[in-house]
């Protein structure tokens, strides 16, 4: 019998965690569509905030995972990406 592959479930947790923001965004988008005025505005901004924050957190999570595994080249690549995003947003939003 082969020993269990330690990487076998590595993407399961990732997939499950990504389900939480999906549920939040689905709920705020659906309820926001039915409401109007201040609540519609509030839910719209919550939806946009989650859609913006999740991909950035995902990069952060990947970096922390690669740090734990000693994958230095890709830690540097992830940090470079976050730096490029920060500079890009700062420059383009002026």
């Amino acid at each position: 019998v082969n020993p269990p592959d330690p990487r076998a479930d590595r993407n399961e947790l990732f997939g499950r965690v990504l389900l939480a923001p999906l549920i939040v965004v689905a709920a705020t988008a659906a309820v926001g569509t039915l409401l109007s005025g201040q609540w519609e505005r509030l839910l719209a901004w919550v939806t946009v905030a989650v859609l913006v924050v999740v991909p950035i957190l995902r990069i952060g999570w990947l970096i922390s995972r690669w740090v734990r595994r000693g994958d230095q080249r890709f830690v540097a690549a992830g940090c470079a990406l976050l730096a490029v995003i920060a500079v890009g947003v700062t420059v383009a939003s002026r």
Partner: protein, 274 residues
């Protein structure tokens, strides 16, 4: 445009966009503009659809081991730098020139992908016990196709990054996700299997959309009354698209991507002279 119409358009665009990994905005933005919405109002709605479709597909694609995160991060460094540069020079190019360049790029990618027959990356029985996913420290990995486990290795990385920078620049200039350049770049230039390229592109266009949405939010250019229908449609379309993509054969996935790219190319060029 009323909420049910926006919802339906967003869902259809997200299904097709996730299926081919090109993102919904490439299809949604031209349709919204043709329907009478100003391009400056359509662009943030397109990015919302892309971000929603990317989030909806993320869990399923990650669990299936189709996303190569390391490749995505490397590609996205060049794409994000290109997007910032594109946003800076957006005023210097005429809309007609930009549209023709966009359309020609989409048509070239459609022809390149559509003219190739068979599978480049073949299953290898020695990998049958391997878990699908990426190999730590490399731009290689394996994924499970319907005929076996297929190993792959990204090639010509500098050239791929150059194309990714162009994709980012196009994204910064026009407000679409740039996936219609990233997928053929990864599959045809870097020789990554098209299903991995499509899933990795769906991951990266979520990042590009997040950057674009931040800029639009800071400039107060997001119409909050349209956020709910666009995002709800994008989420539904993304879930359906990711489910269908998982069952497609690589050859069929590539054909669908090529067909979508061809349609996008023709629509974009027609828009330039309309």
């Amino acid at each position: 445009m009323n909420a049910p119409t926006i919802f339906t358009l967003s869902a259809i665009a997200a299904i097709l966009g996730t299926l081919g990994g090109i993102g919904g905005a490439t299809l949604l933005v031209p349709v919204l503009v043709i329907s009478g919405l100003a391009p400056i109002e359509a662009a943030p709605l397109g990015l919302l659809s892309v971000a929603a479709g990317s989030l909806a597909a993320a869990g399923r694609q990650a669990r299936a081991g189709l996303v190569h995160h390391r490749l995505g991060v490397v590609i996205e460094i060049a794409a994000s730098a290109g997007a910032a540069f594109g946003a800076l020079i957006a005023g210097a190019l005429s809309a007609t020139v930009l549209s023709v360049v966009l359309g020609a790029a989409a048509l070239t990618a459609a022809i390149a992908g559509g003219s190739r027959s068979g599978m480049r990356n073949l299953p290898d029985v020695s990998f049958s016990e391997e878990t699908p996913g990426e190999w730590p420290g490399t731009l290689a990995g394996q994924y499970v196709s319907e005929v076996g486990v297929v190993p792959y290795q990204a090639e010509r990385v500098p050239l791929g990054m150059a194309f990714a920078a162009v994709a980012g620049m196009v994204s910064g200039l026009s407000g679409v996700g740039g996936g219609f350049i990233k997928v053929p770049t990864m599959s045809e230039v870097m020789r990554v299997p098209v299903k991995v390229a499509a899933a990795t592109s769906t991951f990266t266009i979520g990042i590009t959309a997040a950057v674009g949405l931040t800029i639009y939010a800071l400039k107060d250019r997001i119409d909050v009354s349209q956020v709910g229908p666009v995002v709800a449609g994008g989420l539904l379309g993304g879930v359906i698209g990711a489910g269908v993509q998982h069952r497609l054969s690589p050859v069929r996935a590539r054909r669908i991507t090529s067909l979508l790219l061809g349609v996008v190319g023709i629509v974009v060029i027609m828009r330039a002279f309309w």
